[in-house]
């Protein structure tokens, strides 16, 4: 199982698509930095093809900084920095998409 982090906004299509295509069953995806915008309802379609077993997270301080804490879809679990570290430890590798 891998934790994938994505730090690019949705308009950076090649990076976002590359990341989403790389997600395998039981992997975790964490949106960080500008990547958190993908958690907004308008980008729901991006995630349509993902297996249900992929768990979705979003980094709370990055949501808060951008004023979108209350606007993101609830399929994304908000986590703080300590949660990020825990998540990284729980997976056997981290793949960073940037």
């Amino acid at each position: 199982m891998a934790l994938h982090t994505l730090n690019r906004a949705p308009a950076d299509q090649s990076c976002v698509t590359r990341c989403l295509n790389a997600l395998a069953d039981n992997d975790a995806l964490l949106l960080i930095e500008d990547g958190v915008y993908a958690a907004l309802p308008g980008h729901q379609a991006l995630f349509a093809a993902l297996p249900d077993s992929v768990s979705l997270y979003v980094l709370q301080p990055d949501l808060q900084a951008r004023g979108i804490s209350e606007k993101v879809r609830d399929v994304f679990t908000p986590i703080d920095d300590a949660g990020f570290v825990q998540l990284a430890c729980d997976q056997d590798k981290v793949v960073s998409w940037f």
């Binding site: 891998a2 090649s14 590359r18 295509n21 790389a22």
Partner: protein, 121 residues
Amino acid sequence: MSAKKKVLIINRRAPYGRSNARDSLDVALTCGVFELPVSLLFADDGVYQLLGEHDAQGIGQKNLSATMAALPMYDIDQLYVCEQSLKTQGLETSDLANAPTAVDQDAIQQLIKEHDVVLTF
């Protein structure tokens, strides 16, 4: 000592404009020196790294293709290229140096699974 970790290096950036490609190659060669098994995957604009016969003297840089030609000397021979990226860029594997193996999305997921460490550049 535990078994050697298998390293997958994913290259997504075109050469020369940024240092990603050079940095990635330095990491690959260093892993090679330490006898770690290294695989390289080229995707998106990273496929341009595989066009051979560079001549970067005019822009004051070293030829990436010359260093890449040395990969077999470091026993790095597992090279993969995303077939979808090739298609997008209008390239064929026959256009590429180092004879990479073309892989689809499922095979890329499998590569990530099979390696212990994944680095992206």
